[in-house]
């Protein structure tokens, strides 16, 4: 299998242990990982760096994940089409619909295993899992 060269993932979740769990899995799989803990910080990071994918939670302080996605999709630059994987505790169909309407490419419900995360991220980054 080809090793991923330099695919960078931004992990956005207000829970430090969730970020760590995802980071360890993604780094083991060869991805580079940055973190943010709310939507405002996530906007700063995407404007200031180059990412291949953003993994984002919904419930976060200051700015929730769906508002972040709307801000992201409104940007005038290429960053507006950054692929976004939403991983949320909200399980109702309406929540997945709201996420898609906000600009999510994919929606998963927590808890998400490390294998499931890596598989989805790999596919979304255009790599074999």
């Amino acid at each position: 299998m080809v090793e991923p060269a330099g695919k960078r993932i931004l992990v956005v979740d207000d829970a430090s242990l969730v970020r760590r769990f995802y980071r360890e899995a993604l780094e083991r799989a060869g991805f580079e990982v940055d973190e943010a803990l709310n939507g405002v910080e996530a906007v700063e990071k995407v404007l200031g760096g180059i990412y291949d994918l953003v993994v984002v939670d919904v419930n976060m302080p200051q700015m929730d994940g769906l508002t972040f996605l709307k801000v992201l999709r409104r940007q005038a630059t290429a960053v507006s089409s950054l692929p976004a994987l939403v991983i949320s505790t909200e399980a109702a169909a309406q929540d997945a619909a709201a996420a898609r309407a906000a600009g999510a490419n994919f929606y998963l419900v927590k808890p998400v295993s490390q294998e499931w995360l890596v598989e989805h991220v790999s596919i979304m980054c255009g790599r074999p899992a």
């Binding site: 803990l37 939507g39 405002v40 910080e41 200031g48 200051q62």
Partner: protein
């Protein structure tokens, strides 16, 4: 002390996670030695011998402990041309955008709050005179405010020592300062008169409101150390004092992500700044 008391891997991570959440400052593996040393210094200073006790103290932020802890990792002194990248952003991008919003003859208004002993507002004046082409045709009003009246008195006095001028070239010093005493320089009268100094408490809407509306606000290295409620209120008060489309600049280790969602993030070549949206809410 000869040896740092051991802080376990998880204790180190616990402190880092906490500080990242509260302040946005990221301490990683490379800083481990310095973080451990700081923990040891603080514990010794407070007479605390058990890590768990110190962490509870840090969490509670008693006596401004978070700021005290973080002080060892930030440059705290104020000097001319500190955070020059923001000054570059001001003259390269921010003011040019703001000029388009002004009526003919209307002054651009810039606020430095807190201004401490005046280095920041005078730096802005100096920088613009030296670096902004439109400075000859555009009226600019610079206000420096602080809660500390002694700082304000010193600022009005406009006299500085060597350390404050360390980032300025000899040419700049010769041009804008007059040696007033042994190794003390006073800023030239024209510039001294160009900055208005006032008292202001960021927490008091009446005090902030009476300063009027600004195009750019510099509010560096103070908000992040307020508690949650105070940060929100101060951010709101500053928002009210910004023109729609106006900008606010924080300290380089600070972020609005830990303060308020009111502002929009704008990234320029030299800095990330925050903008009051052009439509909508005015105070």
């Amino acid at each position: 002390m000869s040896e740092l008391p051991a802080v376990s891997e998880e204790e180190f991570r616990k402190v880092c996670d906490f500080l990242y959440r509260r302040t946005g400052m990221l301490f990683t593996e490379v800083k481990r030695y310095y973080v451990q040393r700081r923990i040891a210094e603080r514990m010794a200073s407070l007479g605390i011998s058990v890590f768990a006790t110190y962490f509870a103290y840090l969490r509670g932020d008693a006596d401004g402990e978070i700021e005290k802890f973080v002080n060892a990792f930030t440059v705290n002194e104020t000097y001319f041309y500190r955070e020059e990248h923001q000054l570059r952003c001001l003259s390269s991008d921010l003011l040019n955008e703001r000029v388009r919003a002004k009526r003919p003859g209307e002054a651009l208004r810039i606020w430095s709050v807190p201004c401490s002993t005046g280095e920041e507002p005078y730096s802005i004046a100096l920088w613009l005179l030296e670096n902004w082409p439109a400075v000859d045709v555009q009226d600019i009003e610079i206000v420096g405010s602080d809660i500390d009246t002694e700082c304000l008195a010193a600022a009005r006095d406009g006299e500085f020592g060597q350390r404050a001028l360390m980032r300025l070239t000899p040419e700049l010093i010769a041009k804008y300062f007059v040696e007033s005493a042994h190794e003390r320089w006073r800023i030239v009268e024209d510039l001294r008169q160009s900055v208005q100094f006032t008292t202001a408490n960021l927490m008091d809407p009446a005090e902030t409101r009476r300063h009027g509306i600004f195009d750019v606000i510099f509010c560096r290295n103070v908000l992040i150390y307020f508690d949650d409620a105070s940060r929100r209120l101060a951010a709101e008060n500053l928002f009210e004092c910004l023109a729609p489309g106006g900008f606010i600049c924080l300290g380089h280790t600070e972020s609005m992500s830990r303060i308020s969602p009111l502002f929009e993030v704008r990234r320029f070549a030299d800095a990330i700044v925050y903008q009051r949206p052009k439509g909508g809410v005015r105070g």
